[in-house]
C-alpha cells in the first residue's frame, strides 16, 4: 500500500513538474470548449429579414411592427412572390423570410386560426434554429395577447420551412460530442507516453530489477491523469453551462460517474499503446492518429451512426466515446436518469476492465 502511495506521488511530481504537459492537459480541453462555445453562440442580433405580406391588413402590420421592434431582426425590404424571396436568399445576406398569406386577418377572425410561413436559410443550421425560435416566440406572444381579449382562443400557427438543411443535424449534439472527443484524445495521448517514457529514459531498467508489481505501475500511472481529467470535465461542464448556455438537466453525480468510467477507459487505451510502443513519439502518433479519426467518425456527433453501413455501425460499438456521447446526451441534455444509461455505463465499465487487463498482461517484465 505504501509502495502504491509512493508510486502515485512520484507520478504526480512528474506531471506537475512537466509544465508543457500540464499546459496541454488543462489548456487543450478548455480552449476547445471555449472555441466551440463562441462558434456555437446562439445570440444572433439584427438578422436581415424580408417580409412578403399578401394580406396587408391591421393584424399583419402589428406583427411586422413587433418583429421590427425586436433586437433580433432587421427587416430590410418587402417583397412579393416566391421568386423574389428566392433571389434575396441567394444574395446571401438575408437569413429569413416571413410570408403572410392573403386574408390573414379574416382567417384569424372567422376561423380563429391563421398561418404564417417562416422560411429560413438553414445552410447554417444553428442560426436558422435560433431565428426560428425567436420569430415563433414573438408570434406566440402576439397571439396570446389578442387571444386574451376575445372569447374564442385565437391561434396563429407559424409554419416553418428550413431551406437547404431541413433536418438540422448536428447543432445541439456538438457540445457532448466535443466533450467526448476532447476527453478521449487528451486522456489517450497523455497515458500513452506514461510507460514508454520510463523505457526510453532507462528508468524502467532499474524499476524492473525491484520487487514492484506491474499492477502498481499501471494504477499509479493512471491516477494523476484520472484526477486531472475529472477536474477538466468539471471545468468543461461549467463552461458549457455558462458560456454555451447548455442547461445541465440530469444528475451531476451521474455525469461525473459516467465521465470517470469514460476517462478510465480512454486512459486504459493509452496504457495499452504505451506497453507496446518503442518510443514516446511513436506512442503519441499512434494515439493521435489511431484515435482521432475513429472518434470523430464513429462517435455519432458528426455523422449519425444509424445512417452508416452495417460494418461501420458494428465498428462504432468498440469506440468508447460513442457510448459516452449517448450518456451525456441523455443525462445532460434530456435529464434522464441512471435507468436509461446503465447499459452504456456497463459497456464502458467492461471496456475499461478488459483494456486494463490486456495492458497488464502485455506489460513486459523484462527488456526486449
Amino acid at each position: 500500500m505504501k509502495q502504491l502511495f509512493t508510486f502515485v506521488k512520484k507520478e504526480f511530481l512528474h506531471v506537475f513538474r512537466d509544465k508543457k504537459t500540464l499546459l496541454m492537459l488543462f489548456g487543450l480541453p478548455i480552449t476547445q470548449i471555449v472555441l466551440f462555445g463562441f462558434a456555437l453562440s446562439n445570440e444572433i442580433k439584427n438578422s436581415k429579414v424580408v417580409i412578403c405580406d399578401y394580406s396587408n391588413d391591421a393584424v399583419t402590420k402589428q406583427i411586422i411592427e413587433k418583429i421590427q421592434a425586436s433586437k433580433y431582426f432587421d427587416i430590410t425590404e418587402k417583397v412579393y412572390g416566391r421568386d423574389e424571396i428566392e433571389k434575396t436568399f441567394k444574395k446571401g445576406e438575408v437569413k429569413m423570410a416571413i410570408v403572410f398569406p392573403a386574408h390573414f386577418a379574416d382567417d384569424l377572425l372567422h376561423s380563429n386560426k391563421a398561418q404564417i410561413q417562416v422560411i429560413a436559410d438553414a445552410s447554417d443550421p444553428n442560426t436558422a434554429t435560433a431565428l426560428k425560435n425567436n420569430v415563433s416566440s414573438i408570434i406566440n406572444d402576439y397571439s396570446a395577447s389578442i387571444g386574451a381579449r376575445s372569447i374564442m382562443p385565437m391561434q396563429i400557427v407559424p409554419e416553418v420551412r428550413m431551406l437547404y438543411n431541413p433536418e438540422l443535424k448536428g447543432a445541439p449534439n456538438f457540445v457532448p460530442g466535443v466533450m467526448a472527443l476532447v476527453l478521449m484524445l487528451v486522456c489517450t495521448m497523455m497515458s500513452s507516453i506514461a510507460i514508454v517514457k520510463e523505457k526510453e529514459l532507462g528508468t524502467m531498467e532499474i524499476l524492473l530489477v525491484s520487487p514492484f508489481k506491474p499492477i502498481i505501475i499501471i494504477i499509479s500511472k493512471l491516477m494523476p491523469y484520472l484526477l486531472i481529467s475529472v477536474f477538466n470535465f468539471g471545468i468543461i461542464l461549467i463552461l458549457s453551462s455558462t458560456l454555451l448556455g447548455l442547461e445541465i438537466k440530469g444528475s451531476i453525480f451521474l455525469l461525473f460517474a459516467a465521465a470517470t468510467l469514460f476517462i478510465v477507459t480512454s486512459l486504459a487505451i493509452g496504457l495499452l499503446i504505451s506497453t507496446g510502443a518503442k518510443t514516446q513519439q511513436a506512442a503519441m502518433m499512434t494515439s493521435l492518429m489511431g484515435m482521432m479519426l475513429p472518434t470523430m467518425l464513429l462517435t455519432g456527433f458528426m455523422f449519425p451512426i444509424e445512417n452508416m453501413p452495417l460494418p461501420m455501425q458494428l465498428l462504432s460499438n468498440i469506440v468508447p466515446s460513442r457510448w459516452f456521447f449517448v450518456i451525456i446526451k441523455n443525462v445532460m441534455l434530456k435529464g434522464l436518469g441512471f435507468a436509461t444509461v446503465w447499459k452504456e455505463m456497463l459497456i464502458l465499465f467492461s471496456m475499461s476492465i478488459f483494456l486494463l487487463n490486456i495492458s497488464l498482461r502485455k506489460f513486459k517484465i523484462r527488456l526486449e
Binding site: 508510486f7 532507462g202 531498467e205 530489477v209 527488456l367
Partner: protein, 302 residues
C-alpha cells in the same frame, strides 16, 4: 554466489552474437571485474544476471536462485546500476532515494549506515533535481539508490564511464568499503587501470572470456619480455617498429610504445635499426606488463 554455465545470448534472431558460451563463478564478498572494450558483451551479461533478459542457452544463478525461473527472488535481493544514468531526472536527489527505498519496502533511515559514506557527499544537494547533478554525483546517487535496500549482490555496469579521475578513485574506494561489509560486487569497466583494483577479473572480447584470474596472476602469465620505447617522432616509430622483422607486437601506451619481440634481442640491435631510419632521442627500456598489455596480447595472439 553468482554462477554462470555456458551462457549464450544473441540478438536479431541469432545474427548478432553478444555472449558466447560464458561460464564463471563469483564467490561471496568478492569484487569481480568484467574488463573489456565497448561491445564486448558486458552489458548483456549484466542484463541476464539481473533477470532483465533471458539467455538463449545455458543456466545461471544469483544467490542460488535461477535467473529465469526465480527471477522475482533475485529482483528482491540484488542492487543494479545500469550503464546509462537511469534515475528520475525530474525528481530531486532525496525524492529519488526515498522512492527506491520505498519500492524495496525499506526506508532511508533503516539502511542509512550502508550509504552514509557515499550519501554525505551528495546530501548538500538533496533538494536538487537529479538531472542537474554533475557526472560523478549522478553516479554516487545511483550507487546510493542501488544500495538502499542492502542488496547481497551488487551489479555495476560501467559505473565510472564519463566520470572524472578523482571521482573514479573515490568510487573505487567506496567499492572496497562495501566489499568489506560482505556485499558481492560485480563491476564492469572499459578502463584497464581499474582492473587491478578487483579481486578477480575476466577479460572479455567479442562475447568470449579471454582470461579469468586475479589481476596479479594475469600479469605474471605474461611471459614475453616487454620493452618501452620512445623517440621524437612517435608515429613514425610505431610504423617503423611494426615493419621490423623481429617485432611481435607494438602498441602505443601513453608516451611510450610497448613492444615485444619474437626472440631475445639486445638493445643495440633495435636502436641501430631505428637510428638508421633517422630516429633521434631513442629511449629503450624493459618494463613491467600491465593488464592492458595482457589484454592486447590475448586479442592479437591467434
Amino acid at each position: 554466489m553468482v554462477e554462470l554455465k555456458n551462457i549464450k545470448k544473441t540478438y536479431n534472431k541469432g545474427s548478432i552474437i553478444a555472449v558466447e558460451d560464458i561460464s564463471f563463478n563469483v564467490d561471496k564478498g568478492e569484487l569481480f571485474g568484467l574488463i573489456g572494450p565497448d561491445g564486448a558483451g558486458k552489458t548483456s551479461i549484466f542484463r541476464m544476471l539481473t533477470t532483465l533478459m533471458i539467455p538463449d542457452s545455458g543456466t545461471a544463478s544469483v544467490n542460488g536462485f535461477d535467473i529465469v525461473k526465480e527471477y522475482k527472488a533475485i529482483r528482491n535481493c540484488v542492487g543494479y546500476m545500469p550503464g546509462k544514468f537511469s534515475l528520475y531526472q525530474d525528481l530531486t536527489v532525496e525524492e529519488n532515494l526515498s522512492f527506491f527505498a520505498t519500492i524495496f519496502g525499506t526506508t532511508i533511515k533503516e539502511n542509512y549506515d550502508l550509504i552514509k559514506d557515499i550519501y554525505v557527499q551528495i546530501e548538500p544537494f538533496k533538494k536538487r533535481m537529479a538531472g542537474k547533478l554533475s557526472g560523478g554525483m549522478k553516479q554516487k546517487l545511483a550507487l546510493s539508490c542501488a544500495l538502499i535496500h542492502k542488496p547481497t549482490v551488487l551489479f555495476l555496469d560501467e559505473p565510472t564511464t564519463g566520470v572524472d579521475a578523482v571521482s573514479r578513485k573515490e568510487f573505487w574506494a567506496m567499492l572496497k568499503k562495501l566489499k568489506q561489509q560482505g556485499i558481492t560486487i560485480i563491476v564492469s569497466t572499459p578502463y584497464m587501470d581499474e582492473a587491478i583494483l578487483c579481486d578477480r577479473i575476466a577479460l572479455i572480447q567479442a562475447g568470449k572470456i579471454l582470461s579469468l584470474d586475479t589481476p596479479e596472476k594475469i600479469v605474471t602469465n605474461f611471459q614475453d619480455k616487454l620493452y618501452a620505447v620512445k623517440a621524437n617522432n612517435t608515429y613514425k616509430l610505431l610504423t617503423d617498429l611494426r615493419k621490423f622483422s623481429l617485432t611481435n607486437s607494438c602498441f602505443a601506451f601513453g608516451e611510450y610504445l610497448h613492444v615485444t619481440f619474437s626472440e631475445n634481442i639486445s638493445e643495440n640491435t633495435v636502436t641501430a635499426y631505428l637510428e638508421k631510419l633517422g630516429h633521434t632521442n631513442i629511449e629503450f627500456k624493459t618494463t613491467i606488463p600491465t593488464i592492458e598489455d595482457c589484454f592486447i596480447k590475448l586479442i592479437t595472439s591467434p
